[in-house]
Amino acid sequence: MKRTAAFLAAPLCLALVLAGCSAADPETSDGRVHLTFWHGYTESDGDVLNQLVEDFNASQDDVVVSTEVNPWDVIDDTVLPALSAGSGPEIVAMPAERLPVYADRRALVNLDDFYADEPATADVQPGALDMVTTGDGTYGVPTGFVPLTMFYNKTLFAEAGVEVPRTWDEWVAAAKKLTVDSDGDGTPEQYGLALADHATVGNGVWPTLFYGNGGDIVEDGTAVIDSPQNAETLRFWHDAIAADSISPTGLDGVKGDSLFASGRVGMYVGGPWMASVAEENDVDYGIAPVPAGPDEQAASAIGVAMALTVQADDEQRAAAQEFFSYFLAHEQAVTWSLGSGWPPLRTDVGPDEVASNPVVAALTTQAPLARPLLPGVVNNADVLEEVDKLTQRAMAGQPVDGLLAEAQREIQVELDE
């Protein structure tokens, strides 16, 4: 039996060796409050944010914030186990539409007191705040808020001789001119438009189109998707695509992004990152507001926000709010806007202050069009899934009335849950 013991002990010793060589605990006893901040800004925007954090650390002697960067999807998958075990971050950034569900499940700290005490918060874009507010109060500090915008390929526009469209009718007409099917096989080689029918950019393309014709999805906790306006919108776009193949079908947002980047698409409704993606792929692009619908001109917004987790103790909560105040100050708001390529989060930062970045300046003038997506709807993921089912089926040619009635019913069920 002695041999058995030795045999069993060997791997266990190895385990201990492995444990010994693992990363050391970063706990330090320098008297400062330490905060971990997870965010998903993986591009050059992340460098700017990390620099802001370092500047904050240098600006005072009480708080040290350290960042850990992972793609947004990864954060969403890993933050739940980490927080449930108390070994997660004190501050976590996430897409704003993910925030209500974490707030509702008591993972986040209510920031109403912070908003009451910090004067800078009065200048934050109200739409951005709507996205981080639930029935119980405000749970996040916005780090990004931008309306979906139209990117167009200037080279293709010049070839086809079309102007930037301002209304839906002009939009469809321009798309027709931009669509090229040179071998006449019914599948164009170049499309006027890339209109995703599910999992669209920030889930916002269809809400944007619904708003344009005076429709909506949810109002005051009630589903309002089954409206004659929305039926009209779906028919309008289905007919436009079916008649002239102005857009490929079955696209999602990620596919749409890469199609526009390939230079084979004239117009695209996308997020601000399309500017750098287009540049990387040598696409000569322009930016314009999403064309106005028959009823109004509005665009669904993409929001990102950071939140304070319940894992933070009182000291850390106070420290985190210091960081939030620093981040929201006028100077940092300008730096962050220019560095991230997103419009300023403060209403008192005008286009002139961000003129050095033409993309940001253009987006800043479009800021008034931005409408928060499903504010305060905790179950927004399920609601948006129903919207996806609706638009995908409608674009595949299924009768719109039945689909809308079904979506209305399903969304109401999700809202009542």
Binding site: M1, T4, L8, P11, D76, D77, L80, P81, L83, S84, V101, Y102, R105, R106, A107, H198, A199, P248, T249, G250, K255, L259, S262, R264, V310, N379, A381, D382, E385, D388, K389, Q392, R393
Partner: protein, 321 residues
């Protein structure tokens, strides 16, 4: 060491798995059962400690959670059978169960048949470069599923997909496979078959080595053709291997997730939404750990029942043959 080893069997080939039910080890005259139980648990201890701490205990806490409204934060409330009741009334779950069954029915037999067919071909002594073919056909198993799913999505993409383009050149329009509610599920199942058949094939190859060549020679002399030899020698002799592969392929199929997550995300309109996709979304997206746990237990019990049916089926066939 050398004496015992030299006395050991010469053949080091890979044998067919034994009957699933197992044969009872021969009773050992010289020691009591109590002593062998102690020795057995000495051998089992490391594995049981690991499985106990990191598998069984988490399963117990998941079971406990399944009767609560746990979200991972704060105090969970006991809700009795509510989560289970919701599973049996929720239309989305019903659809996901149907989709999972469809997937399992598409995947399991296809994977087993493809693996067996290629194992038989690779086992044919007339085939040249057998080592090369074996290695090549095993490659899909080595690549990560996420990359495999990306590569396949890219191949069949209606705008830039090479396979799509080639097939159109010969008059076959694939359409937008992953966005077609009738084709999406077969497509993701096929990718899983492609990814996994190599491993099953190796197990079959091993099983084939255990069939004595004399059986085939005798059959040949009796005038049995290739099909008859396959039907009456290969298939029965491989039944343990087949049962092993079939059961583990089915367990894997009922937990289909990765390539669906990457390739379709459950769409179009929920047509590839499987039970594990639902578990993932309710757990990690909706933070409803209680419900996700309950659904996991329903899946566990369903899998267990199906496995028992297979055990019994194969056990009976074994006795007959």
């Amino acid at each position: 060491m050398s004496t015992a080893q030299a006395a050991g069997p010469r053949r080091r080939d890979f044998r067919a798995p034994a009957p699933l039910g197992g044969r009872r080890p021969a009773p050992r005259g010289r020691s009591s059962r109590g002593r062998s139980t102690r020795i057995a648990f000495g051998f089992l201890a490391p594995a049981l400690v690991v499985l106990g701490v990191f598998v069984v205990w988490p399963m117990v806490s998941a079971l406990q959670m399944s009767f609560t409204d746990a979200s991972g934060f704060g105090q969970a409330e006991w809700v009795g059978w509510d989560n289970y009741a919701r599973i049996f009334t929720d239309a989305d779950i019903r659809d996901a169960v149907v989709n999972t069954v469809v997937y399992a029915v598409l995947f399991t037999p296809t994977a087993v048949v493809v693996a067996l067919a290629l194992a038989l071909l690779l086992n044919d002594p007339r085939l040249p470069f057998r080592g090369l073919f074996r290695t090549a056909l095993f490659l899909p198993f080595i690549i990560s599923l996420a990359v495999a799913a990306l590569a396949w999505s890219y191949l069949i993409d209606p705008q830039v997909g090479l396979l799509h383009y080639w097939l159109r050149g010969i008059g076959i329009d694939l359409g937008n496979v992953l966005q077609d509610p009738t084709l999406a599920m077969p497509a993701v199942a096929l990718v899983a078959v492609w990814k996994n058949f190599g491993f099953y094939m190796v197990i079959f190859l091993a099983g084939l080595q255990d069939i004595p060549g004399s059986l085939y020679e005798a059959a040949k002399m009796d005038g049995a053709g290739p099909w008859s030899r396959f039907r009456h020698i290969t298939l029965p002799m491989l039944s343990n291997t087949t049962a092993f592969v079939l059961i583990f392929a089915m367990i894997a199929a009922l937990q289909a997730f990765d390539q669906i997550y990457v390739m379709t995300g459950g769409g179009p309109y929920g047509s590839t939404q499987t039970v594990v996709m639902e578990i993932y979304e309710s757990g990690f997206r909706q933070l409803e750990l209680g419900f996700a746990s309950a659904l996991s237990y329903v899946l566990l019990i369903a899998t267990l029942l199906l496995s028992i049916v297979q055990f019994v089926f194969f056990g009976r066939r074994e006795e007959e043959s």
